[in-house]
């Protein structure tokens, strides 16, 4: 596209436009302003509110007395108008869903925003259902998502910086942060990284997550995601910055630490003791999900002496006659589980249910009865599969780790598991995203930030923002000293 200036001749402008925007859904409505000034309104049929155009543009302009560019601009009924002077800008605005008004004899065009397209209603996100607390979730519409955040933070310091990425998709991306809380250098780095993305199209926030990740080939997640505005806002108040992508209900947050995936919205709305217990349970579940199949295999092949005698006898009885080796049996069961999992996600809901029943109950039981796999192996994989979903954000990473651990257990045994665990930990402690350690606040140990990990501190204890994110504004809660005295006074009264 060239930087061709808008001509004084309307016909010439329209012919230039038609050469570039030849698609059938691009409409041109020619009409007279004040019954004498020739003009044309160009818009995309499917993205424009035609009723609003008729009411807000065509009707007032047709009746305009003594029209000129200034009076025309004033007469348009719209909250969002701007003027552009090149045809290139006109093309871009039309493709973004805006309407362009070109007037004969004027070197400028008026861009009017009358977008209208179908959008999903704000509903509870399926990936983070809560028992207590807000149930609103982000949708695919960026404006709606911004409004969900703005409604929660009514501060002048809340900033949305808009960027456009995608040569063809021209997707709107908004970097959102709270001035004075988020590190300036972090905001600058993120914006620079997003600006450097040169891609045909961005259709989901995961595209951006992949581009802003510092270790591009790593198995581990480096950008946080959430579908809930209340979680996003809480993260921003801790010093993180967020990225919203038009067309995606998943907001991104950086910097990311692994500990945040072990937290859930419910933890903050329910009892602290319950939250603590649940968080420990989640950690144990993840450990079980990754290690249990591997431990079972290594115990069966290499370390039978580690098993209590009664348990050993149960296992011996159940594996008697199984033709597969312990590691292959476990691998085979795991494969079946993964296939069932994948199939039940992709299949239509009603068929998926049937597949789950057939796969989970019939196939499993038949395989055990036929003596192909043992009951303990099936139980361990089922348990591991369930445990994995206690931290849904990490399922992809952990399911791969589970297979790696299983392979190591089958070939080297328990010592291999120890070595692999150390290797992973040594890798993770050196891992930083946006100068923030992935394993913080455990390694490096930041004792003040441990208040929101397995130990869930009371809300009134969490007076400072997490040190991990190095926010300049450190205080997030001031407990008034008078509260205690007031309580005593009330009691005395």
């Amino acid at each position: 596209m060239t930087n061709e200036k808008i001509s004084l001749n309307l016909a010439l402008n329209l012919s230039s436009l038609k050469k570039v925007l030849s698609s059938s859904d691009i409409k041109t409505h020619e009409f007279l302003i004040g019954e004498k000034l020739k003009s044309a309104l160009i818009y995309i049929d499917s993205l424009t509110d035609k009723k609003a155009i008729a009411q807000g543009v065509i009707k007032p302009l047709s009746k305009l007395y003594n029209p000129n560019f200034s009076t025309v601009t004033q007469a348009i009924v719209s909250t969002e108008t701007k003027t552009v002077s090149t045809l290139n800008e006109v093309y871009i605005e039309i493709l973004l869903g805006n309407s362009a008004l070109i007037i004969n004899g004027e070197k400028k065009a008026i861009i009017i925003e009358y977008k209208l397209f179908d959008k999903r209603a704000v509903t509870e996100p399926p990936t983070s259902v809560t028992l207590r607390g807000p149930r609103e979730g982000f949708v695919e519409n960026l404006t709606t998502n911004i409004s969900l955040i703005r409604r929660r933070i009514k501060s002048k310091d809340l900033v949305f910086e808009k960027l456009v990425v995608g040569k063809y998709s021209r997707t709107d991306i908004v970097v959102c942060y709270i001035k004075g809380i988020s590190r300036k250098s972090l905001v600058k780095t993120v914006i620079e990284k997003i600006k450097s993305v040169d891609i045909d199209g961005v259709f989901d926030s995961s595209y951006i997550a992949k581009f802003i990740s510092e270790h591009k080939t790593s198995l581990f997640k480096q950008v946080g995601t959430t579908e809930k505005p209340d979680i996003l806002v809480a993260k921003m108040l801790e010093g993180r910055i967020s990225i919203l992508v038009d067309g995606s209900p998943f907001a991104l947050t950086v910097p990311y630490i692994i500990a945040e995936d072990f937290q859930s919205a419910d933890d903050y709305y329910s009892s602290n003791y319950r939250a603590m217990a649940v968080r420990i349970l989640r950690a144990l579940s993840v450990f079980t999900a990754i290690i249990l199949p591997a431990l079972f295999v290594s115990a069966q092949i290499y370390h039978l002496q580690l098993l209590p005698l009664s348990f050993l006898l149960t296992i011996v009885n159940s594996v008697k006659g199984i033709p597969l080796s312990p590691s292959f049996e476990m691998f085979f069961t795991l494969m079946i589980f993964e296939i069932l999992n994948e199939a039940s996600i992709r299949m239509p809901k009603y068929v998926g249910m049937a597949v789950s029943i057939v796969g989970g109950l019939v196939l499993g039981e038949t395989a055990v009865n036929a003596g192909i796999i043992s009951a303990p192996a099936l139980m361990i994989i089922a348990m591991s599969g369930i445990c994995l979903y206690t931290v849904p954000e990490m399922v992809q990473t952990f399911s791969i780790l589970r297979v790696v651990f299983l392979c190591v257990a089958g070939s080297i045994g328990g010592y291999g598991l120890i070595l692999l665990s150390i290797l992973i930990l040594a890798y993770l402690v050196s891992f930083e995203t946006f100068k923030t350690p992935l394993l913080a606040p455990f390694a490096p140990l930041i004792k003040e930030d441990l208040k929101d990990t397995f130990y869930k501190g009371f809300l009134f204890e969490m007076t400072n923002r997490p040190k991990t994110f190095r926010s300049k504004n450190k205080t997030r809660l001031k407990v008034k000293k008078s509260t205690k005295k007031q309580k005593v006074d009330n009691f005395n009264a």
Partner: protein
């Protein structure tokens, strides 16, 4: 923010707690008991005391010069002598590395595996070692942040399980084997001599007013863990303690809790193996770092591969010579280790402080690169 290769005083403290006691709980209690019987704890106490002297010397050295050990050598000695001393420490760490790897290998082969595992089982250890050697000191500091809890929980669990069968009167009469105390102390020297770890960390941590206190208290805590474990071990097995090869696996074997709910002591053993593996790699880590400095290399990868390859060949292909090497290290090389760990840092205190114009933290290699 910390620089790339810096750690915190707290991490050094946790490093002592996480990694120093673990190598001393595999075979050392058995060997000390074998020689000094009920006075084994005195031998251990002497070794810990000597380590404390080495550590205090290193602290004083840092207080005096305020820079890394490499810089102290570079500014006070000429290039040849600095490199010669570094080479002595390189050999020191190589000798120090052999015992923990040897005992860990044997422990795994004899205790963890039902049937003797193949040599392949131990190969990943050296791969992990190469990987860790290429990590910055900051990574080791962060690993200390994680692993200290494994060591503490592991030792406490095993001790708690075995305490019911302990007979602490077995240590009486104190000093019955006076003549053998020093002999045992001499033999167990390679398990101790830990001060050089700190010596090679000075100048690489940000000191604050509590640094010295943190480091000394952490060393004390690590010494206590070692001593408590060794004392419990002897009090459980008394006069047959010298015949129980792996204290780690044997100590809580006869606990009634284990009889009723199964071998939960393996939880402790696995936790200790986690920190024990890093502990066994640490001497290789420091020797690779020193070799990198001696050869003026930018990365520790090549030295790490060379050193690990040497150990790999020694452990996989020269098994019949292992006892010979162990005997050499414990009976002949002990004085060498003692001198380098405790006497040399003390002797370096006489070096005068010189202005180097070098920055204190991190940039200690400037002279070597000239």
């Amino acid at each position: 923010m910390l620089k790339n290769n810096e750690i915190k005083a707290r991490q050094i403290g946790l490093f002592f707690i996480a990694f120093l006691p673990v190598t001393k709980i595999f075979i050392m209690p058995k060997d000390a008991s074998n020689i000094a019987n009920e006075d084994m704890w005195i031998s251990i106490l002497i070794s810990l005391f000597l380590d404390a002297i080495g550590l205090v010397s290193a602290i004083l050295l840092y207080k005096k010069h305020g820079t890394s050990f490499y810089s102290i050598l570079e500014t006070n000695l000429n290039k040849f002598f600095s490199k010669a001393i570094l080479f002595l420490y390189f050999v020191f760490f190589l000798l120090k590395a052999f015992t923990p790897i040897y005992e860990q290998k044997n422990f795994i082969q004899n205790t963890l595996y039902e049937t003797a595992p193949t040599a392949f089982t131990f190969v990943p250890f050296f791969i992990l070692s190469v990987y860790l050697c290429t990590r910055k000191l900051r990574a080791i500091g962060r690993l200390s942040d994680l692993f200290w809890i494994f060591t503490v929980v592991g030792i406490i669990l095993l001790t708690a399980l075995s305490i019911e069968s302990a007979d602490f009167l077995a240590f009486l009469p104190i000093g019955a084997n006076k003549a053998k105390i020093l002999k045992a102390n001499y033999y167990i020297t390679p398990w101790f001599c830990d001060a050089p770890y700190f010596l090679f960390m000075i100048g690489k941590f940000r000191k604050n007013k509590n640094s010295t206190k943190i480091i000394l208290l952490s060393f004390l805590a690590s010494a206590l863990l070692t001593l408590i474990f060794a004392l419990t071990f002897y009090s459980v097995f008394t006069f047959i303690a010298g015949r129980e090869l792996f204290a780690l696996a044997e100590i809580s074997k006869y606990s009634t809790v284990i009889n009723s709910i199964g071998r939960i002591d393996y939880i402790g053993i696995f936790l200790l193996l986690l920190s024990g593996t890093i502990s066994a790699i640490l001497p290789i880590y420091f020797s690779a770092e020193i070799l990198t400095k001696i050869l003026n290399l930018k990365s520790a990868l090549i030295p790490a591969i060379i050193i690990n390859l040497i150990f790999f060949i020694a452990f996989i292909f020269f098994e019949p010579f292992h006892v010979l090497i162990i005997t050499f290290i414990h009976k002949i090389a002990s004085p060498y280790l003692l001198v380098l760990a405790n006497l040399l840092p003390f002797a370096f205190l006489i070096l005068r402080k010189k202005k180097t114009g070098l920055k204190i933290n991190g940039e200690y290699n400037a002279l070597f690169k000239k």
